[in-house]
C-alpha cells in the first residue's frame, strides 16, 4: 500500500503551513488505513474522504493567502495545481460513493503523486523564493 510520510525536507518554514501539511498527512493516512482493512466500513471511508477534501480546501486557501501576501510570482500556476487536485479528490469521492470500482488505490497514488510532485516543484520553489533566515 502506498503511504505518505512527513519528511523534514517538506518543511517550507512557515509554521502554519507546515503544521497543516503534517495534519493533512495524518488525515490521509487515517483514510488509507480505514480503507485498507478488508470489508472496511465504506461509510467511514467516505466520511474521511470528505474530511480530507475539506482540510485540503482550507489548507490551499491559507497557502494561497501566504503566497499572495508575499507576492509569489507563480501563484497562478500553483493555484491551478491546487484546483486540479481538489477536482480530482472530488471525483474520487464521487466514484467511491457510487461504489463503481475500488478507488482507494487511486486516491492513494493520486495524493502521494501529487504531494511528491507538488512539494518537489511548487512548494519547494515557493520555499526557495522566501527570504533566507
Amino acid at each position: 500500500m502506498t503511504t505518505i510520510e512527513w519528511r523534514p525536507e517538506f518543511a517550507i518554514g512557515i509554521a502554519g503551513i507546515d503544521h497543516e501539511h503534517q495534519e493533512l498527512i495524518g488525515w490521509i493516512g487515517q483514510t488509507l488505513a480505514a480503507s485498507a482493512g478488508a470489508g472496511g466500513d465504506r461509510e467511514a471511508v467516505a466520511d474521511l474522504l470528505g474530511e480530507v477534501f475539506a482540510k485540503v480546501s482550507a489548507h490551499f486557501a491559507l497557502e494561497e493567502r501566504v503566497m499572495k501576501d508575499r507576492r509569489y510570482d507563480q501563484l497562478r500556476e500553483h493555484k491551478q495545481d491546487h484546483e486540479l487536485l481538489l477536482d480530482d479528490i472530488r471525483d474520487i469521492m464521487d466514484d467511491y460513493e457510487a461504489g463503481s470500482d475500488p478507488v482507494e488505490e487511486r486516491f492513494a497514488s493520486r495524493l502521494s503523486e501529487w504531494f511528491g510532485a507538488h512539494f518537489r516543484t511548487h512548494d519547494a520553489r515557493f520555499h526557495r523564493s522566501l527570504p533566507a533566515g
Partner: protein, 691 residues
C-alpha cells in the same frame, strides 16, 4: 413611516426595473447614485480649478473677471463655468435621490446609520459650497445671496457684529470679503472630500466610480447643456439699489425666499428641525438584527477569505490567540456585522462533504448554520418530484419563486445568495440531489448586501475564491437577479431554466466573459447597442429641468415702484457706570498684578432706536450689547420696503439708559427713486448719516 417607506420603495423598484430595460442593470444610474456623486464632485473640482485661474477677488474684479471668462472665452471658460454650475446642481439632485433611495430601500438602519449621518453632513457641505460659489460672482443674485445669508447668520448669537453690515452700500464693501469667500469655497470642498472618504469608510469595495459609459454620457449631457444654455451672471451687484427680481438656482436656494415669511429664526428652526428628523431616522425604529457571525477557531486557519469578502469591513485579521501555529485568525466586530452570511460563503471549511467531524465552519451565522443548511438541502431535494427538479436558493430581498408545478422546484431562503458556499452547488449537482440549482437574488445592480451578487457570480465562474470546482457543469446552475417587482422576470427565468434542463443543453448561453458563468435567461429590454443611445437621451431629458431650475423662475424682491430704506448701526452704548477710584479695601482684594487706581465696570446700556416714515413709526426696538459681559456694540440691520417718491424720514436713538428723550435724532425729506436703497447709518462721532 413604514407606509411611506414601502410606497417609496415600490416607486424606486419600478423605476429601476424600467431603467434596467432601457440601460441594462449594470448601467442603471439609480443603482450607482453615490458613485455618480463622486464623479460629479471630480467634475466640479476640475471645472472649478479652471474657473479659479481666471477669477479675481475684488469688489469690481470679481464680477468683471467672471464676465470676461464667460464671454471672451466662452469656448473654454464659459463652458467650464457652465459645467461647474450644472454639475453642482446635478450633485444636489443626486445626493437627495441617493438619500431618498437608501431610505426607501431601508439601507440606513443598523450599522448603516454611519453612512446616513455622514451623508447628511455632506449635504450640508454641498450647500456651503453652492452658496459661497454663488456669492463670489458678485452679480444681482450674489447680492441677494449675501444679504439673505447674512440675515440668516445674524440670527445666531455668535457674531458680535452684524455680518449684514458688510453689505450696507457699495462704498462700505471690502474686497477682502471676496478673499474670504474664495477661501471658504476652496476649503469647504476639501473638507467635503475628506468627509466623503469617511462616508464610505465602513464599506469594503465601495463604489466610487460609475460605469464608464455612464460617466461619458453624463459629461456629454452636461456639456451639451452648457453649450445650449450657458451659465450667465445677472448684472453687476449694486448695494445702493435693490433689483426688482432675481433668478434663483432652486437647487441651492429654494429655501431662501422662506426667510421673508418665516423670519431668520423660523428658517433656522425649520432647517434644524428637518435635519434632526432626518438624523434620527436610522433608529426609527431601531433595526433588530439577527446575531452576528461567529468564528470557530478550531476551524479557522486564518486564510482571510471572509475578510476579503465582507462587504461591511466587519472582519479583521488579528494575531492568533489560541496557541495554534497559524499567524492570524478572523475576528468579527459585532457592531459592524449585518448578518448577511457572505463570510460563511467564503469559508473553505464550510463544505457539506465534511462528515467525519461536525460541520462547523471557521465562520458562520448562528441562525443560518451551515450544518443546518445541509439538512435543509437534503430535505428540500427529497421533495423534488419534477423531471427535471430544481433547487432554488432564494435571497430574502429578491422576487418570490413560483415553481411552474408542484415538485418542480424546492426553495430555501437565505439572507443573501453570497452566503452559499460553492461546494453546496457541487454537492447538489454531482450527487444528483437535483437536476439544477438556481441562485435567485435581489436586484442585479444593487444587491441588498452590496457584494453578494458579485461574489456569487464570480465564485461560480471560478474568478473569485472559493471557486466552484471546474468539473461541475455550469449549465445546471442558473442565476436570476430580480427585485420584488421584477416577478415576471424571475418566473420566466425559472421556467426557462427548467426548459433548458429538460432539453439537456445550454438553451441560453450566459454573456461571454472570463471564467465559467452560470446559465441565465438572456435579458429582455433593448439590444445592447441601443442602450447607450437611450441612456444619453434619458440624461439629455434630465438636462432640461436642470437647466431651467438653475436660474428660473425668478423671485420678486420688491414692487415695481418701491424703494428700500435700510436702518443699520453698530454702536456701543455708553457704560452703565462711570469709572471711579477704587478704595484701599477693594485694591487689597485684587491680585497684586491686577491692582489699578480706577475701576471701570464694563457693562454698556442697550441702544434704543425709533424710525418714522411719513409720520408713522415703522420701527422701535432695543438692541442688546454683544459680548458675555454686555460690553460689546449693539448692532442692527433692518430693511423696509416703501413706496418710491417723497418720504419724510425721522430717526431717534438713545444709548445712555435714560428713561425718556433721545441722545441723537435726525430727520430729512427725501425723494426716493424706485429701487433705491436709502441707508440710515449711525457712526460715532458724527451721529446719523442719511443717504
Amino acid at each position: 413611516m413604514n407606509v411611506l417607506k414601502r410606497l417609496l420603495r415600490a416607486i424606486f423598484e419600478r423605476l429601476e426595473s424600467g431603467l434596467d430595460a432601457a440601460c441594462g442593470p449594470r448601467f442603471n444610474p439609480l443603482v450607482q447614485l453615490g458613485a455618480i456623486g463622486w464623479f460629479l464632485f471630480w467634475l466640479i473640482a476640475a471645472s472649478g480649478i479652471y474657473v479659479y485661474i481666471f477669477f479675481d477677488t475684488g469688489v469690481e474684479q470679481a464680477y468683471t473677471s467672471v464676465e470676461a471668462l464667460t464671454h471672451d472665452q466662452w469656448w473654454a471658460g464659459g463652458i467650464m463655468r457652465s459645467l461647474h454650475r450644472y454639475a453642482s446642481d446635478g450633485l444636489v439632485v443626486v445626493a437627495f435621490v441617493h438619500m431618498l433611495r437608501e431610505f426607501a430601500m431601508d439601507r440606513m438602519r443598523g450599522v448603516r446609520w454611519f453612512a446616513w449621518v455622514t451623508g447628511l453632513l455632506l449635504i450640508g457641505f454641498i450647500y456651503v459650497c453652492g452658496i459661497t460659489g454663488y456669492w463670489m460672482v458678485w452679480d444681482q443674485l450674489a447680492q441677494y445671496v449675501a444679504l439673505t445669508t447674512s440675515r440668516w447668520l445674524d440670527a445666531l448669537p455668535i457674531f458680535s457684529e452684524s455680518i449684514s453690515r458688510n453689505f450696507v452700500n457699495n462704498a462700505g464693501l471690502s474686497g477682502r470679503f471676496f478673499t474670504l469667500m474664495a477661501y471658504i469655497h476652496i476649503a469647504a470642498p476639501l473638507l467635503m472630500l475628506a468627509l466623503m472618504w469617511v462616508h464610505i469608510q465602513r464599506y469594503s469595495h465601495a463604489r466610487v466610480n460609475p460605469a464608464r459609459n455612464l460617466a461619458i454620457a453624463i459629461v456629454m449631457a452636461l456639456g451639451a447643456l452648457s453649450l445650449v444654455k450657458p451659465a450667465l451672471s445677472q448684472g453687476a451687484a449694486n448695494l445702493d439699489a435693490l433689483a426688482a427680481s432675481v433668478g434663483l438656482d432652486w437647487f441651492y436656494l429654494a429655501f431662501y425666499p422662506l426667510i421673508d415669511t418665516l423670519g431668520a429664526g423660523g428658517l433656522w428652526a425649520l432647517a434644524l428641525g428637518v435635519l434632526a428628523v432626518l438624523a434620527i431616522l436610522p433608529w426609527v425604529p431601531p433595526l433588530r438584527r439577527p446575531s452576528p457571525a461567529v468564528v470557530s477557531l478550531d476551524n479557522c486557519n486564518g486564510c482571510s477569505r471572509c475578510f476579503d469578502d465582507c462587504p461591511y469591513s466587519a472582519i479583521t485579521m488579528q494575531p492568533r490567540s489560541d496557541g495554534l501555529p497559524f499567524a492570524q485568525e478572523a475576528v468579527v466586530d459585532p457592531d459592524l456585522c449585518v448578518s448577511c452570511g457572505i463570510c460563511a460563503g467564503a469559508c473553505p471549511t464550510a463544505t457539506p462533504f465534511r462528515r467525519a467531524t461536525a460541520l462547523v465552519p471557521g465562520i458562520e451565522l448562528p441562525q443560518h448554520g451551515i450544518a443546518a443548511l445541509r439538512e435543509k438541502v437534503q430535505a428540500a431535494c427529497q421533495g423534488l418530484a419534477g423531471k427535471p427538479g430544481v433547487l432554488v436558493f432564494r435571497c430574502e430581498h429578491g422576487a418570490a419563486v413560483r415553481p411552474p408545478a408542484a415538485g418542480a422546484a424546492a426553495v430555501i431562503d437565505v439572507p443573501c445568495t453570497g452566503m452559499l458556499p460553492p461546494s453546496f452547488l457541487d454537492l447538489v449537482i454531482t450527487r444528483k440531489l437535483a437536476d439544477g440549482v438556481m441562485l435567485a437574488g435581489c436586484h442585479e445592480g444593487s444587491c441588498y448586501q452590496r457584494l453578494g451578487i458579485d461574489w456569487t457570480e464570480q465564485r461560480v465562474a471560478a474568478l473569485r475564491d472559493p471557486y466552484l470546482r471546474d468539473r461541475v457543469p455550469r449549465e445546471r446552475i442558473a442565476v436570476s437577479w430580480a427585485n420584488p417587482v421584477q416577478q415576471a422576470a424571475r418566473t420566466a427565468a425559472l421556467d426557462g431554466f427548467i426548459a433548458a434542463l429538460a432539453e439537456g443543453g445550454r438553451a441560453a448561453a450566459a454573456p461571454a466573459g472570463a471564467g465559467k458563468p452560470a446559465w441565465r435567461l438572456p435579458g429582455r429590454g433593448l439590444p445592447a447597442g441601443l442602450r447607450q443611445g437611450v441612456q444619453l437621451l434619458l440624461l439629455a431629458g434630465a438636462m432640461w429641468p436642470l437647466g431651467y431650475l438653475s436660474a428660473t423662475p425668478a423671485v420678486r424682491l420688491r414692487g415695481e415702484h418701491e424703494a428700500v430704506v435700510t436702518l443699520t448701526f453698530s454702536h456701543a452704548g455708553r457704560h452703565q457706570q462711570e469709572c471711579r477710584k477704587l478704595s484701599p479695601e477693594e485694591l487689597a482684594r485684587l491680585p497684586p498684578n491686577m491692582r489699578r487706581s480706577t475701576g471701570c465696570p464694563r457693562a454698556r446700556w442697550p441702544v434704543y432706536v425709533e424710525l418714522d416714515l411719513n409720520g408713522h413709526t415703522v420701527f422701535a426696538g432695543t438692541e442688546q450689547p454683544a459680548g458675555l459681559w454686555d460690553d460689546g456694540p449693539s448692532s442692527l440691520f433692518e430693511r423696509f420696503r416703501v413706496p418710491a417718491g417723497a418720504q419724510q424720514v425721522a430717526v431717534r436713538l438713545r444709548d445712555s439708559g435714560r428713561e425718556s428723550g433721545f441722545d441723537f435724532t435726525a430727520a430729512a425729506d427725501v425723494d426716493l427713486r424706485p429701487g433705491q436703497n436709502f441707508v440710515i447709518d449711525f457712526r460715532q462721532p458724527g451721529g446719523f448719516m442719511l443717504k
